[in-house]
Symmetry: C2
Subunit: 306 residues, 2 copies
């Protein structure tokens, strides 16, 4: 593993020189480290680039790390990772991604992740995305996440774009069986002339399934973010979505949250708010000794974490 990967890993996961437990590190399209554990088996796919990750029913509070790094331009990495989480397993999956270019060439990672949660499985899925490097080449991350939640399974997705990504298109779909619960927290920070496009499609197909979708955007510089979600309630179920955005400079946001009620027993709720930082908040923090910039920084950090 090269120096840039090490740096990126520290930013996107809690890497401190090594990982405990199961992991696979992908660097510029190659595997540069892998370990399975008795409960978590990681295998290379035979028919496509990527991994098959088996999580056994005995798995309890284990963590598996599946980070990917692109450390120079002229790399267009495409990977298909499939997670099979067996009945009753309880696992945390950390799958960040960093792209770096010091040249004029594009560094791109395109990760297609599929999750199959058997009944009663519980997954906490965390991913952080970051772009670094002094090159003029585009830094792009285009993740596709497809989730199938069987009866009473729970998936919590926590996805953060820290910054430095010139362009991202993020597509997430989920299908929920009876009693399944999906929570998604998304935070995206864009600066300069970056663009971020997000699309969520969640279909609640089993009785008493539930989704909670929270998206926070901060658009600075001349960046632009486009948010679309579609929550479908096809049975007795409940859906809630919330998309809030803070604008600064000449930032632009378009938010298009869609609710489809295909059953009278679906309860669907949505809220959205877009605006700039409230002046009073800045004044309050300035009286505590912060500069205007520090105050804004603090407010934005708090907002993205909420």
């Amino acid at each position: 593993m090269n120096r840039i990967s090490e740096k990126l890993l520290k930013m996107i996961s809690d890497f401190a020189g090594e990982f405990r437990g199961a992991f696979n590190i992908r660097e510029n399209g190659e595997c540069v480290g892998r370990r399975s554990t008795p409960n978590i088996r990681i295998e290379a796919k035979k028919d496509a680039p990527g991994l098959i990750i088996h999580i056994s029913p005995e798995t309890a509070k284990e963590i598996v790390y599946i980070p990917a790094c692109v450390t120079h331009g002229a790399i267009d990495d495409l990977v298909y990772n499939d997670f099979y989480v067996e009945a009753g397993a309880d696992v945390t999956i950390i799958a960040g991604c960093g792209v770096h270019t010091d040249s004029g060439d594009t560094a791109r990672h395109n990760g297609i992740h599929r999750f199959f949660l058997e009944s009663g499985a519980h997954v906490l899925y965390k991913e952080k995305h970051v772009g670094t490097g002094t090159g003029t080449g585009q830094k792009r991350i285009d993740p596709v996440t497809d989730m199938v939640l069987m009866e009473n399974s729970i998936l919590e997705m926590d996805t953060v774009q820290i910054g430095g990504i010139d362009s991202t298109v993020r597509k997430t779909t989920a299908r929920l069986a009876a009693g399944a619960r999906l929570t998604i927290h998304e935070s995206i920070l864009t600066k300069k002339n970056e663009t971020a496009k997000t699309d969520f499609i969640v279909s609640m197909d089993g009785e008493d399934s539930a989704v909670d979708l929270i998206s926070r955007s901060v658009a600075k510089g001349t960046s632009r973010q486009d948010y679309h979600s579609r929550i479908m309630g096809n049975c007795r179920c409940s859906g809630h979505s919330e998309c809030d955005a803070i604008l600064a400079d000449q930032g632009i946001v378009n938010a298009s949250p869609e609710l489809f009620a295909g059953s009278i027993d679906a309860v669907l709720i949505h809220e959205a708010a877009i605006g700039k930082i409230a002046g009073e908040q800045v004044i309050k923090l300035r009286t505590l000794g912060l500069t205007e910039e520090e105050a804004e920084e603090t407010i934005i950090k708090g907002f993205l974490k909420a």
Copy 2:
């Protein structure tokens, strides 16, 4: 004017045998009554079916009635009405529409209304839509409403679909100059296998313009409603939209409210809620002596008027 028109007029406007003040009654594509007043001049268009309505600056608290009726099948009425509301005028425009067919042929009204509000003008625009008749022919009303609001003008639109319309596509656009204020209240009731499609596009282009868009839907039977709105804040302005729906039987609703913030000084807020009537509400009204059906009827009426 025929008997069916008289009946329809009573349902869609406060008609009691005659109108006071300015009016134009359209029946099956023909004018069957018109009166101008010193302040409100109604003229037939020369190049297309429809009217030009001039509202003079002196107009204060006057009402003008522009209802349209289609009283039998095999009528596909298309009309272009333009309202020129001069600076400072204060007027109420009542423009309901009823379609009736006792045959297997379609009765359709397609009204394209354009509003030009000069600075400081104030318009209350009310329209009620209803379909009646025992025929199997489709009853359709497809209104297009385009509004241009100059500085500090105010337009309040109150649009209600009472029932009986098999299919409707409703398109509304508005452009707001500085200080202009637009309020839209929409209530749509669909039953049986009726469909209703609503599309609002509001562009706030002048400083301190504001829009408040409230949509209430009730979908009963196997009816389906599709709601889309797009509120664009291109400057210092504020936008609020709210779309709530009650489902009964096998009713279906799709709500897609979009917010576009093209300026950091735009403040945009949206809320949506879809679900069936809460059980407690029905129980409460039943303890007051109402049957379950009466209780539901009462709740729906209150919801649509709110």
